[in-house]
């Protein structure tokens, strides 16, 4: 399996404090990878780094020929202004940005695609509703419809199933599996370990540094989870500069 993502001893963080410390490894093309770990483990930071929102403090993330703009990235806390007067249809249509750009028009084919995406997430009938009238679960379906349209080789989802009911979680998981079946590379940060066991072949257990990375079965052992739970969350303001040039914990 050729690689889609390469981590070369990546350290990501804020104000010099690492949130992801010395991560090395590769994600194969077409992989379906769960990224798990306690709060503050660096899951979101890692995904932000992949999406190009955050520059690594050191090391590099290789995208194997992809541009940052070819990645569909769904942040955990979307900065969406839900009071903005835009309809569900128009909002989802922005997922076609890669093909229509700034000035391209929406032809009949594009409109059909948008309608299909809206139907695929079960929001048919909502096309003309302002996005501000959607519930939390409907909002997440809306965002998935946009990801669908982005038609990206690499899809990065940050805790997309938080505060989502069982039915919606199941529906969204079906979409994630479908992207996997289509050969796309999918990274998902999440907390529900049953969900991970049932749906994700590969798992990265993160606790600032990588605790374990491999097949889900081997990663999700009680010992590994205990190690991750013990991770200290706080930054040390007096921490010395890291001398660790090459990670001893490379996966």
């Amino acid at each position: 399996m050729p690689a889609q993502l390469l981590f070369h001893n990546v350290t990501l963080g804020y104000d010099r404090h690492p949130a992801v410390h010395h991560l090395s490894g590769e994600v194969g093309s077409g992989a379906l990878l769960a990224v798990i770990g306690p709060n503050g483990a660096g899951k979101s930071t890692l995904l932000r780094g992949i999406a190009g929102i955050l520059k690594p403090l050191s090391g590099a993330i290789g995208l194997c020929g992809l541009d940052h703009r070819d990645i569909a990235y769904l942040p955990q806390i979307a900065e969406i202004d839900r009071s903005f007067p835009i309809s569900v249809f128009d909002f989802v249509s922005t997922g076609l940005w890669g093909t229509i750009g700034i000035l391209g028009g929406l032809g009949r084919a594009a409109r059909d695609k948008i309608a299909e995406a809206i139907a695929a997430v079960g929001l048919n009938g909502f096309e003309n509703r302002p996005i501000g009238t959607l519930s939390g679960g409907q909002m997440q379906r809306l965002l998935f419809a946009r990801v669908l349209l982005q038609d990206a080789r690499l899809i990065v989802l940050d805790e997309p199933l938080n505060a989502i009911d069982a039915k919606t979680s199941k529906d969204l998981m079906v979409l994630i599996s479908r992207w996997h079946d289509e050969g796309r590379t999918v990274l998902v940060a999440l907390h529900d370990l049953d969900m991970v066991r049932a749906n994700f072949p590969e798992t990265l257990l993160l606790a600032r540094g990588p605790v374990a990375w491999g097949s889900t079965k081997e990663v999700l052992t009680p010992e590994n989870l205990l190690v991750a739970m013990r991770m200290c969350e706080a930054f040390d303001d007096d921490a010395a500069a890291c001398a660790d040039d090459i990670s001893p914990r490379a996966a």
């Binding site: 929102i53 703009r69 202004d81 007067p85 309809s87 922005t94 700034i102 000035l103 302002p130 996005i131």
Partner: protein, 289 residues
């Protein structure tokens, strides 16, 4: 009778026709800009910018008289200088952006008034502060129209990134680099329209013909496209009715235009179909689903 009151002023007097044409041009450019200002929560930023560009416009005015091109260039420079300096100070020192912007625009306003009063006459100062739409010459009118045309053309190009950046800025950052240029172009359009508005309404009220119609439109639609389609005719109507009002009474033209818009705003707050107070007091029966 009605013809005498509503139409005759424009058929009889060329200056009234020019004023009406200017108001229509201002409405076409300022209406959509106002809607974006409101939706991006920048209504008061527009006001601050109107004050900030005064020294630039004043210097342009003093160097070349009532030349709109010089005033626009001066205004653009001053506007961007203030926006940039305010941004630098707040980023460099941790002072909040709004406090920093307020400091700079007040300084800029004081500087502008100083320049105009030291170098110009009191008439000039009154002209800059309150404008006089009834005294537009053909050249100025042409430049107001050119500004409106530029606004519509540029807005057509940056419309999509501007909307997406307003709704979901992070998403735009992940799919395109157009966010920052679009925002800068938008700031430039604000200045261009404010400088046009100077002539008609003066620096204190220039932003009024942008913000009031936009606020009115918010009470009649839930979607941005119809909102813009409501804001523009509302601005035209305010301008026309304000001119008539000013012609028939002793109210100066600029304030008359804004007062008419304010009356329309009051009506919309009460009776608007989206969130109007009367609609809330007497809601229609709820639906099955």
């Amino acid at each position: 009778m009605l013809h005498d009151a509503l139409i005759a002023p424009f058929t009889d007097f060329a200056f009234m026709r020019r004023a009406l044409a200017a108001v229509i041009a201002l409405a076409l450019g300022g209406g959509p800009i106002g809607v974006f200002l409101m939706l991006r929560r920048m209504s008061l930023v527009g006001d601050a910018m109107a004050h900030a560009i005064l020294p630039g416009a004043a210097i342009g005015f003093l160097l070349s008289g009532l030349n709109l091109l010089a005033m626009t260039a001066g205004g653009l420079i001053a506007g961007f200088a203030v926006a940039l300096l305010a941004g630098l100070v707040s980023r460099g020192t941790g002072l909040k952006e709004d406090a920093s912007l307020a400091t700079f625009y007040l300084t800029s306003l004081a500087l502008g008034v100083t320049i105009v009063s030291v170098k110009g006459t009191n008439v000039d100062l009154l002209h800059v502060l309150f404008g006089n739409i009834l005294a537009l010459d053909d050249q100025t009118l042409l430049l107001v129209a050119i500004n409106a045309t530029i606004t519509l053309l540029v807005l057509a190009v940056i419309y999509r990134p501007l909307v997406v950046e307003s709704v979901d800025p992070l998403f735009l950052r992940t799919v395109s680099r157009a966010g920052a240029p679009a925002h800068l172009a938008f700031l430039a359009l604000i200045v261009v329209n404010l400088v046009s508005g100077f002539q008609a309404l003066g620096t204190l009220l220039a932003v009024g013909l942008m913000i009031l119609p936009a606020s009115i439109a918010r009470f009649w639609s839930r979607d941005i496209t119809p909102m813009i389609c409501i804001a523009v005719p509302t601005a035209v109507l305010s301008g026309y009715a304000g001119l008539v009002l000013s012609f028939q009474t002793r109210i100066p033209s600029g304030p008359a235009i804004i007062l008419v818009a304010a009356a329309l705003y009051g009506f919309s707050v009460l009776f608007g179909s989206v969130g109007g107070l009367v609609r809330q007091l007497f809601p229609a029966r709820h639906l099955e689903a």
